[in-house]
């Protein structure tokens, strides 16, 4: 202890200039309100911001200087022998110097903040460049610890390696480069897969490993190597690589394990996008023991065929403006986008896969799209349409030389496009509420011809399209708050306004087979089946409470979930019914099960039968036996 205290005192005496200089720098912050750009700002805020900036500057610069001069100069000039010829233990020499340097750094950092805090008469606060505002003392101190724990010992290690020039230091430098590149490559892989949770776990473990390696390495360098530069370098190198190489190998293993998650590892499926026909779906959810990582798959559950989709959950990716994956109407083809590198990268390459091939193989098209583009596959999957800024491009996937482009109306912020029946036209649904809500349907003949506007509605509207793509129903509340129901024949372009039957809700959806489903959005649950002209055929029970419509597992049946209460969400006693559309009979199928999709899937397709419970596990309904089978998620 005598040696430790002597070394600490010696270091504090030798380096008193650091805190003195820091105080002088802190006083500079008081003059910040005089700067030209600070006019009109509250002086206390300007001083605090200036003190924060100087705080980080001083911390980083002093951290590097103190770290680089911790032992580097003495080792280079072979002066450590002076201390090792005294009754000072190795740990006391290392601990005394490192401890004194940390104390000097902390004191210097605090002294930078002190003048501004005294003038403002409030406790010092930190501002991080990335925090967007001042942080409390505890949080700021937590961030600041990186400087004494990583930056300072890192500067010491680098200076030692540079000065020693031994074979050990050369090996260490090469390994630093190798490990750095490996960590970058592995981290980039996780980031590109949007595996931010596992990346954070790995970063935390690596940060601890780096701190242990740097602090432990520098301690071993002095305690084991003593005055010998060569032995010190060897000790430093052995500790550095003894910690960092296993940590990097562990990171590689963790990364491979995380990214190797298959559909069977999904604990639940919060994101499900079934194909309109067939039995493929896009699914994503948290994978087992992978720190919240949500891989995404194009999945066919029966034969368990799967294609891994890039960059994680497509719904999360859509939040940053990336197009969602899509299917052709017949379910035979799927497309998705692949960022070149990280998830924010642009442009995005289009990838398609024929799902009727076995096994299906992704085919990058060499076509790149921007985030704002609207995409659609033709019904048979042979053509891909892209619409951006009024330019429509139709790619012939089998014959790229037949691709063409033309002008077309834009789809607006919430619009969509799809190929018309037969593929001879493309529909552009223009939708948006800025400045007023508006829905417009344009038909664009292909490959040329004048675009026609088939429908234009001002006001709130709910738009739905039949699974076959031949009809659309628009439920409108016009500016006078009068509900209306409009149907559009998407083959011939005929438009009709239907009278609402007595007691019917104003939201209508096309049923497979030609009828309409009418649902009230308010005053509890009310369902009614009408014919194509809006004439009431059948009122469906149950009535009252809350209700949600699912798909049609068969043309004559409909899935509905109902709760007797108006409360939505978990615990509302939801019951799933299969409703017979001819008789109106409702047969309960189970509690707390929800249809995944609503009317938009072809009857009998997997999407029309998919169910999910409140734990987001995925089930399949057998339309014949009405049995429910778990498809995905922890059982």
């Amino acid at each position: 202890m005598r040696g430790l205290l002597a070394v600490v005192r010696l270091e504090l005496e030798r380096r008193w200039v650091y805190p003195a200089l820091a105080l002088a720098v802190g006083l500079l912050a008081l003059a910040a309100p005089l700067l030209p750009g600070a006019a009109g700002q509250p002086p206390d805020d300007v001083r605090e911001a200036a003190a924060s900036a100087l705080f980080w500057l001083v911390s980083v610069v002093f951290g590097v200087l103190l770290g680089a001069s911790l032992f580097g100069t003495d080792l280079a000039e072979q002066r450590l022998g002076f201390f090792f010829s005294r009754p000072i233990r190795g740990w006391a020499l290392w601990g005394g110097r490192a401890g004194a340097a940390a104390v000097l750094l902390a004191a210097s950092a605090a002294l930078v903040l002190l003048p501004a805090a005294l003038v403002a008469q409030q406790a010092p606060r930190f501002t991080l460049f990335w925090s967007g505002g001042p942080l409390g003392l505890e949080l700021g101190a937590g961030q600041w610890l990186v400087v004494p724990l990583v930056l300072m010992p890192g500067a010491h290690a680098l200076r030692s390696l540079a000065l020693a020039r031994s074979r050990w230091s050369l090996g260490s430098a090469a390994a630093v480069l190798g490990v750095g590149m490996a960590v970058w490559w592995l981290g980039r892989g996780l980031f590109n897969d949007w595996a931010l949770g596992p990346l954070a776990v790995a970063a935390g473990v690596l940060e601890i490993a780096v701190v242990v390696a740097l602090v432990g390495g520098s301690a071993a360098q002095i305690m084991v190597g003593r005055a010998s530069v060569e032995r010190g370098q060897r000790a430093l190198a052995l500790v550095l690589w003894g910690v960092l190489l296993p940590a990097t190998a562990g990171f590689a293993g963790w990364s491979a394990w995380v990214r190797g998650a298959g559909p069977g590892d999904l604990l639940s499926a919060p994101t499900v996008m079934p194909a309109p026909a067939g039995d493929w779906l896009v699914v994503s959810g948290p994978a087992r023991r992978r720190a919240g990582y949500r891989p995404a798959f194009l999945l066919r559950p029966g034969p368990a065929e799967a294609i891994r989709l890039p960059a994680g959950d497509p719904f999360l990716a859509a939040a940053i403006g990336r197009p969602l994956p899509g299917f052709s109407a017949d379910g035979s083809t799927a497309y998705w986008v692949r960022p070149e590198g990280h998830p924010f990268a642009s442009p995005l390459e289009l990838v398609v896969a024929r799902l009727d091939a076995s096994p299906p193989r992704p085919r990058p098209l060499g076509l790149f799209v921007g985030a704002a583009e609207r995409l659609a596959l033709s019904a048979d999957g042979s053509r891909l349409a892209r619409l951006a800024s009024g330019l429509l491009t139709v790619e012939e996937l089998a014959r790229p030389d037949r691709s063409f482009a033309r002008r077309a109306p834009d789809a607006g912020p919430d619009g969509e496009i799809w190929f018309g029946p037969g593929g001879g036209s493309l529909f552009v649904l223009e939708r948006g509420c800025s400045p007023r809500c508006r829905v417009a349907l344009h038909r664009v003949p292909l490959p040329e011809g004048e675009a026609e506007t088939w429908l234009e509605i001002q006001g709130q509207a709910v738009w739905s399209r039949s699974a076959a793509g031949d009809r659309a129903v628009v439920s409108v509340v016009d500016p006078e708050a009068v509900p209306r129901l409009v149907t559009v024949d998407l083959v011939g372009g005929a438009r009709a306004e239907l009278p609402l039957p007595d007691g019917a809700g104003w939201i209508g959806r096309p049923l497979a087979g030609g009828g309409l489903l009418l649902q009230a959005a308010e005053e509890g649950a009310r369902l009614m089946v009408a014919d194509a002209d809006g004439r009431k055929l059948l009122a469906l029970s149950p009535v009252g409470g809350s209700l949600r419509v699912g798909g049609q597992p068969t043309p004559q049946s409909l899935l509905v979930v109902h709760s007797p209460t108006l409360r939505a969400g978990r615990g509302a006693d939801w019951t799933l019914y299969r409703v017979d559309l001819e008789t109106g009979d409702a047969r309960p199928l189970g509690e707390d099960l929800w249809p995944v999709a609503d009317l938009g899937q072809e009857p009998g397709s997997l999407g029309s039968r998919l169910l999910r419970d409140f734990s987001r596990r995925l089930y399949e309904l057998d339309p014949g036996s009405l049995e429910v089978r778990l498809l995905l998620g922890a059982g």
């Binding site: 005598r2 040696g3 205290l5 002597a6 005192r9 010696l10 005496e13 030798r14 003495d74 072979q78 002066r79 450590l80 022998g81 002076f82 090792f84 010829s85 005294r86 009754p87 000072i88 233990r89 190795g90 006391a92 003593r226 005055a227 010998s228 060569e230 032995r231």
Partner: protein, 308 residues
């Protein structure tokens, strides 16, 4: 702190081996220094002296063998053992920004036996500025400061690694005088390595010679002086029988116009008496060698024969 009893081993080095990669700097050296002895380790540049001292001070761990101070392993117990040891390194290694006064304060916190008054008085007497950074002191002042730091510890063992290296004759003499005074006063055990062989005449009790990492000899200086002698055969060189010369087992032979001069490592008066009758009366003159001459003869290039 109590000094060891006379004769008690203070330094024990056993089969000590130091290697730097493929080069062996110290090769299985074994030696012992008893309390109260002034032990001088001699050797040419690169003989391994500094490597041996580094092991002796626990700065370096030998590849084989070990060193003990006051009966304890120095690698394991370096810090506690060095509280009784004063060290003067080959190159002054004090932190250059520190003053002599600051170093004194630092050492006072480390050594229970620190004699602050002695230290201050010695610096004053030798005109070493107490408030000037060490980096700005002359080579001689640094040497004096280094010795002052070592002596103010009131050490039981003083380890001096070529302390006069690079000093002018006045500074060298001053340091040696101080050393002699210290020895006269306190009978401190001294482990000294040096190039200045003349300096240790009359100072060292025991000498050892290290050559290419191996210990060539280790014995009391007086015994060495008696053993290694110069024999001059003053009769024409042509008349000297080579068999006679070989009988002396000489280290070196030098032929002159007046006769032959031989240096022998094992002077044996009886043997010489047996050979003498074959020579002219008064032709044989036996004389002693200086330590430097002994060192050159023993640690030189091996047996040599020159014609002058």
């Amino acid at each position: 702190m109590k000094h060891p009893e006379a004769g008690e081993p203070v330094v024990e080095i056993e089969r000590l081996t130091v290697r730097y990669g493929p080069t062996t700097a110290v090769d299985g050296v074994t030696l012992e220094v008893a309390a109260g002895t002034v032990f001088a380790l001699l050797g040419r540049n690169g003989a391994g002296k500094t490597s041996l001292v580094r092991c002796l001070l626990g700065h370096r761990r030998p590849q084989a063998g070990g060193a003990r101070l006051f009966g304890a392993d120095v690698w394991r117990h370096r810090a506690s053992l060095l509280s009784r040891v004063g060290v003067v390194p080959e190159q002054p290694d004090m932190p250059p920004a520190m003053t002599a006064a600051g170093l004194g304060r630092f050492c006072a916190r480390l050594y229970p036996s620190w004699d602050a008054a002695f230290y201050a008085e010695r610096l004053r007497r030798l005109s070493v500025p107490a408030d000037l950074p060490c980096g700005r002191l002359s080579r001689g002042q640094k040497g004096q400061l280094s010795l002052s730091l070592a002596l103010a510890v009131r050490p039981a063992l003083l380890v001096l690694d070529d302390p006069t290296l690079g000093l002018d004759p006045v500074a060298r003499r001053s340091i040696l005088d101080e050393l002699i005074d210290e020895l006269a006063e306190r009978h401190t055990t001294v482990f000294l390595t040096t190039h200045g062989l003349a300096d240790i005449e009359g100072l060292a009790d025991r000498v050892a010679i290290l050559t290419e990492g191996r210990l060539l000899l280790d014995e009391p200086l007086e015994l060495l002086r008696q053993r290694v002698r110069r024999i001059e055969l003053r009769q024409p060189a042509a008349a000297v029988d080579d068999r006679w010369l070989d009988g002396l087992r000489p280290l070196a032979i030098e032929r002159h116009e007046w006769g032959v001069e031989a240096v022998v490592a094992e002077f044996d008066e009886a043997r010489l008496a047996q050979l003498e009758p074959a020579l002219d009366a008064g032709a044989v003159v036996v004389s002693g060698l200086t330590l430097e001459e002994i060192f050159v003869s023993l640690a030189g290039e091996g047996k040599r024969e020159v014609q002058s």
